[in-house]
Amino acid sequence: MYEFLKEENIDDGILDDIRSFSESHPVSPGIKSRIPHPRYPYYGKEIWEEAITALLCGENLLLVGSKATGKNVLAENLAMVFSRPLWSVSFHINMDAASLIGTDTFEGGTVKFRPGPIYQCSRYGGFGVLDEINMAKNEALAVMHSVLDFRHIIDVPGYGRMEADSATRFIVTMNYGYAGTRELNEALASRFVVIQMPPISCENLQKLLHREFPTLKEKGVQQFSALFLDLRKKCENAEISSKALDLRGLLAAVRMMHFGLDVGRALDMGLTNKVFDSYERGLVRDVISSRVPAHLKRNRLFSD
């Protein structure tokens, strides 16, 4: 991963700091399996530098960005770079304090505390990735205030207080204005430093395609990245929903093309069919048709 960061022109000083952080906070062997190995790297020098610096300074991160900006990819990449075990929580509207900190349960006739992901993460000095935090009610999140600020503690009523490991960091993601989301209150927002995640640039998208599919011809790389940007523009202008704006779906489609599936069918499976409204599906199909011929064969796309 350090090699990748070097390729991204991240400052050597920063890389040294990451190394010394990891060395001074060893991970218990039992939870080493929680250190992630992300499928995709995150591209974007400025964002990398901002995020690493914030984490080294002991701050928690709030990554704000729309769909397909790589919020979770970056969070996982950071955990890997810092060699930290990762606890990931996907927030939903019914999330409450108990599901974060822990719940009571019966074991052998007695009530026992079953620790939740935030408790575990704080105990072992991990990175907690809290996905779509603004889906949850602010009241449910209030329980996290003490672990997120300078106090670094979790107080569980009836079970005592636990001091969080000094390596603990929380990286939360949110998609502002996404359907079904609410405003983050100031008390919570003040406990994070915020990074506005830019949409993936054409250049970075091409880098990603090159890395994932080294045999994909240059023309293919250009057209698939342009296709994704066309879809994004259509989505930004509210002509289609964000369902078809799916970078993972695009990569999966190209992977299927590499295996020999027709371009049209692969893109249908990876992008178009994720839209269940037939009219919108027509619009998505038009965007695809104006970029990539449906019956293009594998040998015209890949050099191997």
Partner: protein
């Protein structure tokens, strides 16, 4: 290639999207769209239109095509200009969009495939020269030998194959040069003057009988009720007697007219009278109310005029339904999106319920059950169910100012009501207008009939709009609502206007017109009165820029402005989401 269209149906919207995709920008309404013989959008030519915007800009296209607007040969010039633009844009875009090669090939194949589907009339309507030049172009694209052409056509064909290296102004100049060389077009449209005859008034009765005529509907359906009043507002004894006789006769006629046009009253005469006494006060003194569900009265129409209006209403309902069906796909899509948006908003605002479970938060009051009864359900689990705690009233302005967009208002009303039904929210849709001093509230879809949304297609527009009284009366209608909390959504142009004047008072001894500032003040007061009764009123505003301050005065922040009527449902959806959040905080 079709010229600019103001509001889009499903296929037109799709064509626009093809153009916007190729252009890479979405901030313009395309001047041209391309469709094939079956009316489906032509992807390749729409791409070309979009690319023209991308490479040469909207201004260049507008200026170029405006050169021959109005010319007798405009259609031919349009087609030839696009033929030359096609070549230039294809050459220019191909290196960055290789798919164009295949799209162009398919377009050429389709051009010749369509030949067999053309009727004789369609063949005759084609310009022979344009067709020859198009055929030559597409023949070349398919790699087939050239068709036999005249020397002039061959030269013109070559001249129209403009290079992709030309910039906008050079391309414009080249096209104009070709038109000059081959058609003597000097840059000024040659307009053929239409043949006109003017007849004096004495010929009018005869000519309107023997010649076809066009009837223009106006909003002047309201008849003022004459009242002789003294300066203090009381009628003079002599005048009062005359007025009373006159009034009773006229009121009976008006009532029958209203009943014939809009349908029977929902209330008995006694109930209606009591409601009028209660509601038709202050600024609305002397006005009447009519609540109806549109069901015609037994015994049929009383006058030819009302019979004609009833027929027109039935025709309009058919038109509303037909237009909706025509754009079924795009309308269904709008319903799905809107329902999703509202459902999502409800989901995050709903309150969880705590139920007994085997894990969760310990319920100390039940913990004894585990050791004594072996019942491990001693925890509380938070569960959430959908219980929308409010109902929605959609009021559609049905005054004559909506005459031009009745079908769209009906379709948008249906989309909104159907989306709310899918979310389990009770909705009532009412249209309102004023005629002959009656403010008519026509309940198109009541709360009680959950699956009667198609009744909204009975919407039609006529007369004036006395918004203040309509809102006051809407408050009465909502009393029968299934929920305690109400949200009233009003489609308005914030321009209340009624032929029935505000009666004389101390300050205004001669009364005032119901319109302008008085109308706005009165409507604003009624909105505030509704708020005091725990009814939240919000508006979707579609009107002139000059009415924006009035709309803000009336509805404050509970206002969304739309520019096109087809944005109504989406705007109402946004308002509903905001109101859902605020209602749940109450």
């Amino acid at each position: 290639m079709k010229m600019h269209i103001q509001s889009y149906n499903g296929e037109q919207r799709r064509a626009c999207n093809q153009i916007w995709t190729a252009a890479g920008v979405y901030d313009f309404d395309p001047q041209f769209m391309a469709f094939d013989m079956d009316g489906a959008p032509d992807l390749y030519m729409n791409c070309i239109v979009g690319l023209a915007h991308k490479w040469y800009g909207e201004e260049m296209l507008k200026t170029l095509f405006s050169k021959w607007t109005g010319d007798g040969r405009q259609a031919m010039f349009d087609d030839l200009a696009w033929l030359s633009l096609e070549n230039a844009l294809y050459e220019r875009e191909l290196p960055v969009r290789p798919v164009l090669e295949e799209l162009r090939f398919l377009h050429a194949k389709e051009f010749f495939a369509q030949e067999y589907r053309l009727s004789r009339q369609e063949w005759m309507s084609k310009n022979q020269l344009v067709y020859t030049l198009q055929a030559a172009r597409w023949q070349r694209v398919l790699g087939k030998p050239p068709l036999v052409q005249s020397v002039r056509a061959k030269n013109l064909d070559a001249a129209l194959a403009l290079s992709g290296t030309l910039n906008g102004p050079d391309l414009s100049a080249a096209i104009l040069r070709v038109f000059h060389d081959y058609f003597h077009f000097n840059g000024t449209p040659w307009v053929r003057q239409p043949f006109k005859l003017h007849f004096s008034e004495k010929w009018v009765p005869f000519l309107t009988k023997v010649m076809p005529i066009e009837i223009q509907r106006t909003d002047n359906l309201s008849v003022r009720t004459l009242r002789e009043t003294q300066q203090d507002g009381r009628a003079s004894p002599a005048g009062a007697l005359h007025a009373k006789l006159h009034l009773q006769e006229e009121e009976q006629t008006d009532r029958e007219y209203i009943e014939d046009c809009f349908g029977r009253s929902l209330y008995s005469p006694k109930e209606l009278n009591m409601m009028e006494q209660q509601l038709c006060t202050d600024n609305h003194s002397g006005c009447h109310l009519w609540f109806t569900d549109g069901v015609p009265t037994k015994g049929g129409c009383h006058s030819r005029e009302s019979e004609h209006l009833a027929q027109q209403a039935a025709m309009q309902a058919r038109r509303n339904r037909d237009i909706y069906e025509k754009n079924l796909e795009i309308n269904r899509s709008a319903i799905i999106r809107l329902a999703g948006q509202i459902r999502n908003c409800m989901l995050i605002q709903q309150q969880p319920e705590e139920i007994q479970a085997r894990s969760g938060r310990l319920d100390v009051g039940r913990v004894w059950r585990e050791p004594l009864l072996g019942d491990s359900c001693v925890f509380l689990y938070r569960d959430v169910e959908e219980h929308p705690g409010f109902s929605v009233d959609l009021m559609l302005d049905a005054s004559a100012s909506r005459l031009h967009c009745q079908e769209t208002v009906a379709a948008q009303g249906y989309i909104l009501a159907e989306s709310l039904r899918l979310c389990g929210i009770a909705v009532q849709v009412t249209s309102f207008c004023s005629l002959r001093g009656y403010t008519v509230l026509r309940v198109l879809k009541p709360y009680s009939l959950k699956h009667a949304n198609r009744e909204i297609f009975r919407y039609f527009a006529a007369g004036w709009n006395r918004d203040g009284l309509a809102l006051r009366a809407a408050g009465e209608l909502m009393k029968g609502g299934p929920k305690k909390k109400h949200l009233l959504l009003l489609l308005t142009d914030a321009n209340p206007n009624d032929s029935h004047r505000i009666p004389p008072g101390n300050k205004y001894p001669f009364g005032r017109d119901y319109g302008g500032e008085q109308g706005v003040q009165d409507t604003a007061a009624e909105v505030h009165a509704l708020c005091r009764r725990d009814i939240r009123a919000a508006a979707v505003f579609m009107g002139e820029n000059s009415s924006v301050p009035a709309a803000k005065d009336i509805f404050g922040k509970d206002l969304v402005r739309i520019r096109r009527i087809d944005q109504l449902a989406a705007a109402a959806g946004r308002l509903i989401c905001t109101e859902i959040m605020e209602l749940s905080d109450d």
